[in-house]
């Protein structure tokens, strides 16, 4: 279980996170929604220690991870996987080197065993025969799949997704949604997804939390959120330009 308590972060004079409180349950898919630029990425970057908060804390089980030193955090990071918005594949490496990278860095497995695991993970994300391609030769959807394979290659307890469907067509988005569900069900991993894709959110979420003006303003199951009367939530879920949220 991850507990985020009163997390605050500003960049220069701009307040991005203004006291975020959120509990993320183990083995569930928590989707954090909110407009672009509301600080969703900033929030998950705190969970994996890419950013440090100005104040507040994040507890992972009973460990206050925000208080860990960089070196101690590295041990913690092996429990995480992360899929970046642009997949962030290393473009100097082939697909199989990318997926196998964490194994090569952190285990003593030999080349053959690494390749076996890599192939198995690639199959799990629906890719076969792409091992020797370079990332530049892949389509956007394939990059996301490879990125997901890399994120789950170490069988992490928690996987973070930064806009998994950004830039994909609706059909590809739906298939990424399926993939998220399949991989999560198989291992009962904790998934944290940030997105503004409402279709995806309804498809995969066990719990939805909405980030607005630096705080979690509402949260609940898909049904609860659909029934939520908060005009800000309504405007966002229905995708209207008119409403309490100002469009700049």
């Amino acid at each position: 279980m991850i507990e985020i308590k009163d997390l605050r972060k500003s960049f220069e004079s701009k307040v991005v996170l203004d006291g975020v409180d959120l509990t993320i349950e183990k083995g569930k898919i928590t989707v954090i929604i909110g407009r672009s630029g509301e600080g969703k990425s900033v929030l998950i970057k705190h969970i994996i220690g890419l950013l440090r908060p100005d104040s507040g804390k994040i507890m992972l089980d009973d460990v206050e991870i925000t208080a860990l030193k960089e070196r101690e955090f590295n041990g913690m990071r092996k429990r995480f996987g992360m899929l970046f918005q642009g997949a962030a594949l290393f473009d100097s490496m082939t697909v199989s080197e990318n997926v196998g990278f964490p194994l090569v860095e952190h285990t003593d497995l030999n080349e053959e065993d690494v390749l076996k695991i890599v192939k198995e993970k690639l199959r799990r994300v629906g890719l076969e025969g792409v091992e020797d391609l370079m990332p530049a030769e892949l389509s956007g959807g394939m990059k996301k799949r490879v990125g997901l394979a890399r994120a789950i290659v170490m069988d992490p307890e928690i996987v973070l997704f930064d806009e998994p469907t950004a830039g994909l067509d609706p059909i590809m988005s739906d298939s990424i949604g399926d993939l998220v569900l399949e991989t999560q069900r198989a291992l009962q991993t904790t998934y944290i997804v940030i997105t503004h894709d409402i279709t995806l959110t309804y498809k995969i979420a066990d719990k939805i939390a909405m980030l607005h003006e630096g705080r979690i303003i509402e949260q609940g199951s898909v049904e609860e959120m659909k029934a939520n009367r908060n005009p800000i939530v309504r405007q966002f879920l229905e995708g209207r330009a008119q409403g309490p949220i100002k469009v700049y």
Binding site: I48, N74, F84, S92, E105
Partner: protein, 258 residues
Amino acid sequence: MIREYLEEVGRKTEYVINSAGAIAIMLAQAVMYTFVPPIKLRNMFKQMEFVGVESLFVVILTGTFTGMVLALQSFNALKRFGAESLVAPTVALSMARELGPVLTGLMVTGRAGSAMATELGTMRVSEQIDALVTMAVNPIKYLVVPRVVAGVLMFPVLTIISDFVGVVGGYIVGVKFLGINSGVYIARTLDFVNVHDIFYGLKKSLAFGLITATVACFHGFYAKGGAEGVGRAATSSVVMGSVLILVSDYLLSSIMSY
């Protein structure tokens, strides 16, 4: 008007001091992580190939022509004193002590330094460096250390090659074009140049390698602002690297002459 000017000066000064501090910290970390196991030789060899082997052509070309033009110009000057044979040590000493290391440094900064900054900058803006961190891999150790090690090891090697081809270039012009006796040319070179002169240049080139690689890694590593930022990182790394090479060349020369 004056206030704006002062603010601008203040901003620039702050930037310079901040950068100097950040570069020093990055260098200290790189030095530390160089000796922290596990040491990944594969990455180092890859960078050494990139900095060293792939710079060979441009270094040989620059070295040869520099030696040739040195012979030509010093011949014109020395002829007036009837000391044509001193062309040989002039070329050899200038190459070994000064032009070999400096020109190699500048050329390799332009070629490899800009490429390092571009590569790391692209990795930064496409979140590949963040991805390394999330996979519990230290990006300084993984990305910066091999490049700095390659710079420090390969600059002296390239400098020796540059020295050698410079002397050969000087020999060709001096002996074949200007008519200095071949035996005299070689003898004069050996008379005046000793191994200390070569080491003198190599020590400098070692420092230049460290400067180029660290500056390039710094600009790439902290690049921001998409493609434009990556371009800026490449430009800054070449400008800053080249200026620092020239400044430190003077400083090192004056320190080493005591």
